[in-house]
């Protein structure tokens, strides 16, 4: 679905690359996590996965980027629209500003894609239900709380049914219940709709429960990739700016006494309970 081969990217005017020799292969129906310290290159990788690098942020790019079999470098950004969706941290800036209700805001992207009105209505209703915004459908997008706006941003993207959905800190303004709901939705999206979902987040407890693969970024390089348990339980994770989940920390503290907890350490509650049983 998305493939980056040996991608090195430098923002205009920057002396050091934000991404260095990154190779990633994203396939449909799987959930990927991107973790790393601040400035590790997580957002830059999200932009590269959606074609905003090189088309929006110009800079210097080496390597190959493929999106749904198309060479991103020779396609226009407009022609890639709808293939991938991007949700980023600040939901307020993702509101179009040109629509006066949540319902119409969600439909904005579909209008631009030329989706027939009847189909648009059913897709919007489905997105409202999926993101729990049905009760707020007729409100102004500007009257929503930060968390509700974040769900609106996600609804506005998933209604476009992209082949891949890339989310950069999509739950930063959500409480634990809201966060759980969003991760549930994303997990279902991958399972039921065969969408590739990529999530850059610091909320590792949630990521660990739903990701199939985690990429650990450090200074623009993918240092480790693999199943969440393998990557997130690494002893050197803290040195790379990635904190351990509370279950890993608890297991690490107990591992002297309980040898079943030693390797690999659990990263989710389920895994911790399994190891202790």
């Amino acid at each position: 679905m998305i493939e980056l081969r040996g991608v090195t990217y430098c923002y205009p005017g920057a002396s050091a690359p934000a991404l260095e020799d990154v190779s990633v292969h994203i396939i449909r129906g799987k959930v990927y996590g991107i973790v790393g310290a601040n400035k590790a290159g997580k957002s830059t990788l999200c932009y590269a996965l959606t074609g905003f690098i090189p088309h929006f942020f110009h800079g210097k790019l080496d390597g190959q980027l493929w999106l749904a079999g198309r060479d991103v470098r020779i396609q226009s950004l407009a022609s890639l629209a709808g293939l991938t969706g991007l949700v980023f941290q600040n939901p307020f800036n993702q509101i179009s500003g040109a629509r006066f209700s949540v319902r119409e805001e969600i439909a904005f992207g579909l209008e631009n894609l030329g989706v027939p009105t009847r189909e648009m209505h059913s897709r919007v209703e489905q997105a409202l239900i999926t993101t729990g915004l049905r009760e707020l459908a007729d409100r102004s997008p500007y009257q929503l709380s930060g968390g509700q706006q974040q769900r609106l941003a996600i609804a506005s993207m998933l209604v476009m049914q992209p082949d891949a959905l890339v989310l950069d800190e999509p739950t930063s303004q959500l409480d634990p219940i809201g966060t759980r709901d969003v991760f549930d939705v994303l997990h279902r999206l991958a399972e039921e709709r065969d969408t590739a979902v990529v999530i850059a987040t610091h909320k590792l407890e949630w990521l660990a429960t739903c990701a199939d693969e985690v990429l650990l970024l450090h200074q623009g390089q993918v240092l480790h990739k693999g199943p969440p348990r393998e990557v997130l339980s690494r002893r050197d994770a803290a040195e790379l700016g990635v904190r351990s989940t509370s279950y890993t920390l608890a297991a690490r503290a107990l591992s002297e006494q309980v040898k079943e907890l030693r390797s690999p350490l659990p990263v989710t509650l389920e895994q911790a309970l399994d190891a202790l049983r």
Binding site: Y47, T50, F52, F56, L77, A78, S79, A81, G82, G85, L86, F88, N90, N93, Q94, I95, S96, G97, A98, R99, F100, R103, E104, A107, F108, G109, L110, E111, N112, L113, G114, V115, P116, T117, M120, H121, V124, S140, Y142, Q143, S156, M157, M160
Partner: protein, 260 residues
């Protein structure tokens, strides 16, 4: 946050009209106010034309409140400027070196009544028409969508801008910034208010542009609309009829003025 538009949702026959029908009707009121020679005729146009329509649209009270709020400052300045400074012979009141003349007052009355109908018409149009529906109707007639986008976002972003300014002002005050005082002091205090506001907005621009691109805003090709604007043959006929009347009346009036 302050409401971004004047529009008031109501179940009324006026609300149900196609936005372009309302626009053409408004054009007729604007033209009539310009054409009617006597001020009392213009007042009658307001009382017998706009006011019943505002009742029909179930927005009479906000219509009167908004129109009065808008007309009063204009009326006062027109009376003062025209009354005292327009040339005239008939002296009404003398205040030292200033003289209030009947001709000036009459001129002010003419301007004010016209302005009353113009402001009233625009207010009524905005009270009964959703701005996005108006833009959609105009886009369907060829208005570039970028223009419609700018108009609509401005409506929603200006109140947000005010809200942001208030947040910054409160934040600066909480850090001990003195915002009260004389005029010069207040002007100086604008710097710590305006700088973060402008810089913040510039930074937001990039994310807004990305968000629009992600939602296929610049995609070429046909677009569809979520909302279908209600229209009918009767209404379309009425609209074109009104438009013809409007254009003909304007043409005759302009020709008459040029000739006379």
């Amino acid at each position: 946050m302050r409401r971004p538009t004047l529009f008031l949702p109501r179940e009324s026959s006026l609300h149900a009209l196609h936005p372009l029908t309302k626009l053409v009707g408004s054009g007729l009121f604007l033209l009539l106010a310009l054409m009617l020679p006597e001020y009392w005729q213009v007042v009658l146009l307001f009382i017998l034309g706009l006011l019943p329509l505002a009742y029909l649209g179930k927005v009479a009270r906000p219509f009167l409140r908004t129109t009065t709020g808008l007309i009063l400052p204009f009326a006062m300045s027109l009376f003062l400027i025209q009354g005292f400074f327009a040339p005239g012979e008939i002296l009404l009141v003398s205040l030292g070196p200033f003289a209030l003349k009947a001709e000036g007052v009459m001129l002010a009355v003419r301007f004010t009544t016209r302005l009353l109908v113009w402001l009233g018409t625009t207010t009524l149009l905005m009270l009964i028409t959703r701005p996005d529906h108006m833009m959609q109707a105009l886009m369907e007639r060829g208005l570039p969508r970028q223009v419609a986008y700018i108009v609509l976002t401005s409506l929603q972003i200006i109140p947000r801008f005010q809200q942001q300014a208030q947040i910054i002002l409160d934040a600066q005050r909480s850090r001990g910034l003195e915002t009260e005082g004389g005029l010069f002091h207040r002007i100086r205090m604008l710097v710590p208010l305006v700088t973060p506001l402008i810089l913040g907005s510039i930074l937001e621009l990039e994310e807004r542009a990305i968000a629009l691109e992600a939602r296929a805003f610049s995609r070429a090709g046909a677009r569809t609309t979520y909302t279908q604007l209600e229209d009918s043959v009767t209404q379309r006929t009425l609209r074109y009829g009104l438009l013809a009347v409007l254009v003909l009346t304007a043409a005759v009036w302009i020709a008459a003025r040029l000739a006379g």
